[in-house]
Symmetry: none
Subunit: 413 residues, 2 copies
């Protein structure tokens, strides 16, 4: 089944409203195995609305609209769809009663134009009563075409889809689509794609789609089958091949993120941690704090921005700072060891680098970052070179530090 | 000028990505006096992409696309548009050099497929160099049709539009549109709108558009006139009226943010600062570190997540923690005083609260946050109640702490 999603409303075209319904519906339809070919936003203009709907009917089996079901004259979605199907609109007593009740409950007076919202198709319509607003939704199914018309406000759209439209659509589907996700760290989207290109190209079912998300790359493997079990069987060998190729760069599967994976590793291994940051300036600690319950293992973080703080809080040697400077492997090592020791944590992790835009030299350019990791007294330092603006460098260093920690934690008891 | 916005990317049709670019571009085009007739999302499918672009060319004067400029084979926006205009794509040495440099800086190897991103139209193209990623944008203008192709990630799209496309589009418009921005802190969008509704409603030129940005509210005042000077003259009295109504809630004008304003205040007043965080967990220090040059005044930050760290690093009294608990005005005060004292900073600022989702009680619910501020030995604590998820509470507390600091700094010599 091919689908299109159409949002009707000039306010979206003016940028006053973010079209979150389109994302929600796309995700839900993908889960149902219904492919969305287009999302369109059209204003409250009769001719353009008609053109858009008729074009969508010519390309798709299923159209889902949001908006344009209100009481005012420029709300025309229902009228336009009914005209396409040759359906007459008649007053639905139950819908009218519910609208009347809604006004009574909110203490407002129902104006005459609200009757328009209770008009429904005479023959091939299904009325979707609205528990969260006045406008009912409508489904019209005729000649192998389906239109599902939903109200615009997400607090009405979402429950109406969830409770009434989803069960309806499930009965229409012959195939199930199952997606699984591999999450890849410390490798860019294009480098990842190069690594697995032959596997991607050899596949049609399941398909493999690579894409970049903030600070990570993702591979989505989607199989089409008669049953969920069958789809999973199709996915398994492909997933295994991708995992083998990418090795430890695959840091997780499914809906999660790096900070969650690292936090869960720390918690499951009962390892306490403390963080000493310079260039990342609190981002690394903050990423760990995103995980609820991290307080069990995260003892503290120190943003030792000045040399004075590095010496006083972490015990970095004045001699080290003088000889090697604050941005050096030696300082990173002493920071990691120092925070572990002064906090009493099993693990100390540190960052020191040049986030820019100033402060770089030929020898130590902007983007140079050292990450120190001290686990139970054993310390390693890794050198990285990042590009981008100050905050991109800080964010990348944070993700790489977490990934370094993740890899090291795999080998800890 | 009629415009359409087309986002290219299967990931949007799958619901993996929210199409925020469409809203941003719609708003910007409205500001420029350009009407948007359609927003469309199409997948990475050659035929559907072609159909969508050609249809848009048949209806609109200006098309703005986002996405589909990447290095992979299914990135086809540029190729499709070039074919429509009969333009040959040739390698742009400067674009290639910039991409190569981008990879060099990140210490990664540029793979062959990245050369694709440096292909530009031979004759009628304008190359929009990308300061925040690898794919350059492209403008093609020919036969009274314009296409502006932008990369997909908002952190690349937005600055490219702002710095390169907007000035270009302004030259196409008969009228000049000048916008000025008032930035409002610690007041929600709808509360702000209520405060100034009568001023907004009374205006047609300039118009006043309120909107919410991350952690702040914004009023954009836009005047339409023949010259920039004339537009500014129209804006001045309205801006003054808004400023008078909103008072000290207006924290800045124009393109800046709260951390920049606070950092500049600290630097101009030569006041050193140190940060002690609990619930914000590094976000507050990290926000200050975003400002280059902050190292002159930011001595350090401590994320004292455990009670042990609060006592050891900051000298919070065990008695205080026992009697009042870690989330209390008393603890916030001792944290702020402690970090100022142990670091030797003029100012100590602290946060302690319950970010949730667990850990709340009837007396101390999730969302309760205390912010302590100790300036040259004088300490105040403010209590806040936030709603939202764990990270929203942490982010709000961070913005409010910065705003509290901003207001206090205004009275410091």
């Amino acid at each position: 089944m091919k689908a299109e999603i159409i949002a009707v409303g000039t306010e979206i075209l003016l940028g006053d409203i973010l079209n979150t319904n389109a994302q929600y519906l796309s995700k839900e339809l993908a889960q149902l195995g219904i492919e969305v070919y287009f999302q369109t936003v059209v204003g409250d203009n009769p001719q353009r609305l008609k053109d858009t709907l008729y074009q969508a009917f010519s390309r798709a089996d299923l159209i889902i609209t949001t908006g344009g079901l209100g009481p005012t004259e420029d709300d025309l979605t229902k009228e336009t769809a009914a005209a396409y199907f040759g359906e007459e609109l008649v007053l639905d007593a139950r819908a009218l009663g519910r609208i009347q009740k809604y006004f009574d409950r909110t203490g407002r007076v129902m104006t005459e134009n609200n009757r328009k919202q209770a008009m429904v198709p005479k023959e091939h319509g299904i009325v979707l009563y609205n528990d969260n607003g006045t406008a009912p939704g409508i489904i019209i199914e005729k000649n192998n075409k389906i239109i599902v018309m939903l109200p615009g406000p997400p607090k009405e759209t979402v429950p109406m889809f969830e409770n009434q439209v989803k069960p309806y659509l499930q009965t229409k589907q012959e195939y199930t689509f199952v997606s699984e996700i591999l999450r890849v760290a410390s490798v860019g989207e294009s480098a990842m794609e190069t690594l697995v290109k032959d596997i991607i190209d050899a596949q049609t079912n399941p398909t493999i789609a690579p894409y970049a998300k903030f600070g990570e790359s993702i591979l989505r493997i989607t199989a089409k089958a008669k049953t969920e079990a069958e789809a999973k069987t199709l996915i398994a060998p492909i997933k295994a091949a991708l995992r083998e190729r990418l090795g430890s760069a695959v840091y997780a599967e499914g809906e999660t993120n790096m900070q969650t994976v690292v936090a869960q590793l720390l918690l499951s291994k009962h390892l306490t941690i403390a963080v000493a940051e310079s260039c990342t300036g609190g981002l690394l600690t903050s990423a760990l704090v995103e995980y609820p319950g991290i307080s069990e293992v995260l003892l503290e973080g120190c943003v030792t921005y000045s040399n004075q703080a590095k010496m006083q809080r972490l015990g970095v040697q004045a001699q080290t700072l003088e000889t090697y400077t604050a941005v050096s492997a030696q300082t990173a090592a002493e920071m990691a060891e120092g925070i572990a020791k002064t906090s009493g944590a099993d693990i100390g992790i540190s960052t020191t680098g040049i986030a820019g835009p100033d402060g770089g030299t030929a020898e130590k350019p902007v983007g140079l970052v050292y990450i120190g990791l001290s686990i139970k007294g054993k310390t390693t330092v890794t050198e990285y070179h990042y590009t981008g603006k100050r905050n991109q460098i800080r964010e990348r260093a944070t993700m790489y530090a977490l990934d370094l920690l993740r890899k090291a934690l795999q080998y800890e008891a």
